[in-house]
Subunit: 214 residues, 2 copies
DNA sequence: GGTAGAATCTAATTCATATTAGATTATTGT
DNA sequence: ACAATAATCTAATATGAATTAGATTCTACC
């Protein structure tokens, strides 16, 4: 509400962060520009100075989350560690990330669905043809990277199985099981609980590594 | 669009089913009464003959899903089977349910969050005080039952650990890990995939039962 | 075969939200 | 200081969605 003389000007990153926070609480459709604006002491209209429209802002949130996740997981997957150790670290960092960056994490978990189904109507919409195309393209790229993320896990498990370090599992299903368990953390985790992110990650890695013992 | 002379009249159950389906695809806020109505060849206004308002309809969906889940899980949890066998069956039925009743399952997974955050504003809302109170009450009951659901799993694991059939795990975290993996199925499962619900359930139970070996 | 009530429909009403337009104020480089 | 530009604001606009009001059409029963 109040003006900000000294530090006037809110950064894009601030807005994305705020949007992620609201998104986590309310979900895509229920999140209003006003909500987001309020979080950073702006009016809804001001957000349009930073982002073309609501969709663009939301996409920035998801994109940021995905960048973060990939940039942390990939290096581990491509390292020289043994499969078990790779997997341990990957699950660990994934879970801890989701508890640290609650906002981004939950946004990603919850909003993939909304993203898939976002209105891409052929007729009475406000989106221009170009905007629709842009969006489609963005979405495709996003899903590619999401697939890449999952592939990191698959490859690690694959090698582990081949090397005999892990038992024979159905790799796609196993990986989805792990990612489901991880992602779910951002649904129920609340700061200040009995265990912190590290503690939770510990338990989950233990569970899955044991489940892979030959 | 067309009228239904012979079988005019759509049942409440039909509408709930349709709502669940739309809900799964679009999420709570993005689901419009028109969408739901279209699914059963009605107009939006007609839905109000069957349900007091949108919220009531949504709640009916969640309630139905919860009834279903609880009614299938509880008997197993309270049976005389060994903990491992109980857990196997519970995970199995949970996963299979989510793949069979895709609509209800996904609705539950996706909408818990929305439910928590549903606007319960103190001022400029349309909900009457009574309606708000009713809703609050409903929500409380719903979460109680959700907790009961989770408790079924906890108790089974607890006993298994005490009896020495399972290794010592952090029970709350372990259960959340299992439920997360299960629930996630309804996010990614698509009929006609490589494995059916049974096959998927098989893999998941195997993973978690192995992870519990002492 | 006529009537009561259920199930629908069409046509408003109302309200919130995204988005735009046009000022206004701050910052920064000169 | 001054101008250019960035960041905001306030005030409209437009659209879409929930909900209501008031007919209309079935269906079942007498």
């Amino acid at each position: 509400m109040a003006r900000k003389p000294a530090d006037q000007s809110v950064s894009k990153a601030d807005i994305i962060q705020a949007a992620a926070e609201v998104l986590r609480q309310k979900g895509y459709e229920a999140t209003t520009m006003k909500d987001i604006a309020a979080e950073v002491d702006l009016t809804a209209a001001s957000l349009y100075h930073h982002f073309k429209n609501k969709n663009a802002l939301m996409l920035a949130v998801l994109e940021g989350g995905m960048d973060y996740a990939l940039s942390h997981i990939q290096p581990i997957a491509e390292s020289n560690l043994a499969p078990a150790e790779k997997l341990r670290q990957m699950i660990h960092i994934h879970v801890v990330s989701l508890t640290q960056h609650t906002a981004v994490g939950a946004a990603m978990v919850f909003e993939i669905g909304a993203l898939i189904g976002v209105k891409t109507p052929g007729e009475g919409s406000k989106m221009s043809a170009k905007a629709v195309h842009e969006f489609e393209e963005w979405r495709e790229r996003f899903f590619d990277r999401r697939a890449a993320f999952e592939d990191c896990f698959r490859r690690v498990v694959q090698v582990g199985v081949e090397v005999g370090e892990f038992r024979q599992v159905d790799i796609p299903i196993f990986v989805k099981t792990v990612l489901g368990a991880n992602n779910w953390v951002s649904v129920w985790y609340r700061p200040g609980g009995r265990l912190d992110g590290e503690g939770i990650a510990e338990q989950i890695t233990e569970t899955f590594l044991r489940s892979l013992e030959p």
